[in-house]
Symmetry: C2
Subunit: 271 residues, 2 copies
Amino acid sequence: MKSIIKNYKDSKKSIGFVPTMGYLHEGHISLIRCAKKENDIVIVSVFVNPIQFGKNEDLDRYPRNIKKDIQLCEKEKVDILFNPLYKEMYPKGFKTYIVVEDLTSTLCGRYRPNHFKGVTTVVAKLFNIVKPDRAYFGKKDYQQLVVIKQMVQDLNMDTQVIGCPIIREKDGVAMSSRNKYLSKEERTSASALNKALLLAKNLFIKGQTDPQVLKKEIQSLIMRYPKIKEIQYIEIVNPKTLKPVKTVKKGDIIALAVFVGETRLIDNIEL
Amino acid sequence: MKSIIKNYKDSKKSIGFVPTMGYLHEGHISLIRCAKKENDIVIVSVFVNPIQFGKNEDLDRYPRNIKKDIQLCEKEKVDILFNPLYKEMYPKGFKTYIVVEDLTSTLCGRYRPNHFKGVTTVVAKLFNIVKPDRAYFGKKDYQQLVVIKQMVQDLNMDTQVIGCPIIREKDGVAMSSRNKYLSKEERTSASALNKALLLAKNLFIKGQTDPQVLKKEIQSLIMRYPKIKEIQYIEIVNPKTLKPVKTVKKGDIIALAVFVGETRLIDNIEL
């Protein structure tokens, strides 16, 4: 892979990179199309990264379909699909991790303590292999985007990190490989997340700036749906620091994580 | 700095890099000369990295003499001396750290808990700025060398990390900027470290393979000198894992840290 990249670099091709865990959907495709527009070469990685999963999380059942991923990448004229093995990425004796402090202790990081350590470590490795000029991440994983931007800046990496809009199903559910886990009924309940975020945004536009009021409204809308098992968090945060705000301002982010049945879904909206 | 490096890379120059904390001595110069031999361009960085010092360590009094460093680099025909400011390396809001687990919990890491986290973080930053083909480190800081090699391998960095022999004063004391702290009497006591390591190596060559016996001999030689305040550790370790060995083999490393007066000195020898 490194020698292929060296050839591209030698011939001054710009490289756009879309790191994924595979099971590609319209969200990923929007990233690929964005990368196609802005770069000579587009590389997609498919790697289900074990070290970003917690012990009781869904690593084993995480959906995989590399054949379909290859077809989609071919259709989108992706130049390279990089699909490394676990033992290539984490050979015996692997010991090095990258930690972005502070930003990773809030929101999802509070409930998934080693998740972002796994994300930043694998992304740094992939960046060092692929050497992208630009890398594309969906805003659905908003905290991930902020954490990766921080890492790139702090470690003086050369890649420009670009966040792309959330792509949603017709019923408003944010595209995610994990939506596959949902039964038909759960899927209906899942649509509550986006509905609640839109409701809160409307209330904010109409003048409501108290985060507690907005959070309560979100909570009560979501809890009305039958398959909601647990709201893990609803937070309204500053888009850069990810710290909860006391008064809501334009540009702040409402982020939430909700268990619909056994499936943990996240979503967010920019105010 | 990055744009200068880009020009070198575009014109296919190989880059040799010697990262230092300045106050350059013969040890550093041997690294520079090694880099000169093997690369088109040689870059030396001088940066006293605060995040690798503990709270009660010698950050404030660490010796500095940038004028002399510049003169030495000019004399050695170093192409670039990179001397960044603290606020350039760690701007407000800096949050990202690199940790090499396991290898950093033994030897010096046991007594300097965040030291190697600071070292790997700054070295990764410098590597991302300078993009060296080869980087040169002295074997005096043997654990540092092993830790950096591990980081480079684990994170798929492109730099080849090269360890160079310890350079010693006439009395056997390993070259170190911290030798400046020593009074004349302390300096005599400091020579015990190398003497003890050589004694142990001789005993090993004559057939002694019990690490406890070798460590005892080292200890009793060192403690005979008046200015020895404390032996922090004496360990005989595998050169790759840095784990203590049960039977000493050729290639193992004896490493030690000793307080001579208030000055902490380290040294090691390869068997």
